[in-house]
Symmetry: C2
Subunit: 372 residues, 2 copies
């Protein structure tokens, strides 16, 4: 910390991104919920630059990103003034936490959820109101009825993968007509129900989505928000006071192509859902508890070892998953759904780890037996 940093940020604890290995080739990377399939073929095509297209990089990008906003609006059947785009959904969320912090500072979100929310509260001086999950790790809608501030819910939730139904989301919106409710739908395309259909009749809803998961474009950094035109105008007011040209030319092109290809999108989402269901079944056969996931990851715990031990054992076998050293969830690991091949290797490694564990327990049991 330098002597120039404003005191309010002295205790700020930044978000810790999942490990991004510098040489990913040798690793099976299942730690940051990326898509195992490449972006839609049109993305690769639009980036086959002829020199003339590359030359356009000398010019600023469109601060409205109209081409991309238009493509998203068309996809969801919205007006363009109901949509705005950001440099990843993290940027959209940052703008939203700034803009929609209520006067009393309270922002409600599940205690176990995207771990960036408390960081946004810290940086913008909001009061993070952490609402516990039920014992079965579900979000209880009625806990949010009559909230005295802005509400943020990831649906499906992370890292549990568990989803609220559209009816449950609607009940939260209806019970909080005078509070903004932000639904972070990063993982919605893998089996959840988007709240977009509730925009009609709910001016207190803001839906946030990303191209990083179901659109295979984590590296292009594209997020977007959909809401009432006044709410979107507020977000744009923040954006144009912070970083007007927030999307670069290349990502605007890539995003436009990705959202146009509906068939490729459906097909890759379907494959990931299938792989997820097989993986969950296999893990359960190996004695794991696997929370019912509607996302492109599963959250699972073994009866035989803690989350950290499983995480480390996989790491030694060049498989990275995500482990959270936090109360209530430190028995679990979060495993991104990869290709079927990658999941086979994960299961093979997991069997090895469990076998070793069993042998070790036997040896220890025998040693104890001898001593006693």
């Amino acid at each position: 910390m330098s002597r120039f940093l404003n005191g309010r940020y002295g205790g700020l604890e930044p978000y810790t991104p999942g490990e991004q290995p510098k040489v990913p080739g040798r690793l099976i990377k299942l730690n940051t919920n990326e898509n195992p399939y490449p972006p839609a073929p049109g993305v690769s095509k639009v980036l086959q630059w002829d020199p003339e297209t590359a030359e356009q990089l000398k010019l600023y990008s469109d601060p409205e990103a109209a081409e991309l906003v238009g493509a998203i609006a068309e996809y969801y059947g919205l007006e363009t003034h109901q949509v705005m785009v950001g440099n990843g959904s993290d940027e959209i969320l940052a703008f939203a936490f700034m803009a929609f912090q209520p006067e009393n500072g309270r922002i409600y979100f599940p205690e176990i959820s995207y771990s960036f929310y408390p960081v946004y509260c810290d940086i913008f001086g909001a009061k993070g109101m952490k609402v516990p999950l039920r014992d079965d790790f579900t979000v209880c809608p009625s806990d949010y009825y009559g909230a005295e501030g802005t509400i943020v819910i990831t649906n499906p939730n992370a890292p549990t993968g568990m989803a609220l139904s559209l009816g449950e989301i609607e009940s939260i919106l209806d019970a909080n007509r005078n509070q903004l409710v932000i639904i972070d739908e990063a993982y919605v395309d893998f089996g959840g129900e988007s709240a977009v259909s509730l925009l009609d009749g709910h001016d207190n809803l803001l839906v946030v989505q990303t191209f990083s998961k179901s659109r295979s474009l984590a590296g292009a950094r594209i997020g977007f928000a959909m809401g009432h035109e006044d709410v979107i105008a507020d977000l744009n007011k923040i954006k144009f006071s912070f970083n007007p040209y927030n999307l670069n030319r290349l990502s605007i092109l890539a995003g436009r192509e990705a959202i146009k290809d509906r068939e490729y999108f459906r097909e890759t989402c379907r494959k990931i859902i299938e792989t997820r269901e097989s993986l969950a079944a296999e893990l359960r056969e190996l004695g794991f508890e696997v929370l019912p996931s509607k996302a492109n990851f599963v959250f699972a715990r073994s009866g035989h070892m803690g989350g950290e031990e499983y995480f480390e054992a996989l790491r030694q076998r060049n498989i990275i998953v995500r482990y959270f050293k936090k109360p209530k969830i430190d028995d679990f690991v979060r495993i991104t759904i990869g290709t079927d091949e990658e999941m086979k290797m994960l299961i093979r490694a997991t069997k090895e780890i469990l076998d070793e564990k069993l042998r070790q327990e036997k040896r220890e049991g025998m040693t104890k037996g001898e001593k006693s």
Copy 2:
């Protein structure tokens, strides 16, 4: 404005970017200080995607952007922990205004300068302390001695194009040892002297630069900051609490290639400087006052018409320049240096406009003469 926007942003006036025409082909675009030459050839090459490279977009970018940070550090002979990158220098400036707002809230900058500074002050609740320029539009260094807060100076300044010498910058740093001094060097490569050489011995200096001007990459959105490692760590703390993956994979590649090609960079900067000097001479011959510019634009006023009139007349001839409807500078227009060909067309249009003006004045003179 929605009923959910926090009251503190009610009066916020966003920054107004220069016009980005949707169909730029028919226009000579001299309004946002872009480079008329394409990015370095290596940029185009690295973006010639084979499908495998395009596939990498499915993975998050490196939040440290180590490849790009390393290339910048090498170029300037710095350690990598003295450099950080942002999604354009606007994002870096936003982070800096957040991080380095002093406890008394005061941030000093020239009254006539980058018009985003007062917006940053507004959004982060800082007190913008506007320091007038001298009558000749120069920044007076001693006006900043003993400032009671953070100092931000664009050097060369915009929209005047006029530069402070390295000695003058050093005098400001020495006279404010306990204040952070941010030197915004967006235009420094066109004849200014970078303050980077002053980092040794001045832990109160933060230098901000961009790839949008001298590197022909406005559309890739890359800015960077150089400073003491503690100051850079503070900026990274903000970044990792706001938007960790702020640079996308494509821009990291493009930036790395652009900064590696030193010869192309020197050559394009040299051409722009030459074109600028010719343009300034020709405008002066036509009776314009042209401030002595070290940037890739000139700030000029005609003795025969106001800035708005000249701006509009050029616009009618499909040439866009920038005009600021503000006290003290509303006689001027800011003209980005384009190719020699574009400058010829600007001069031709300007002669037409002046001729028309003259004929019109004569007609009016005659009419008046007849009447009186």
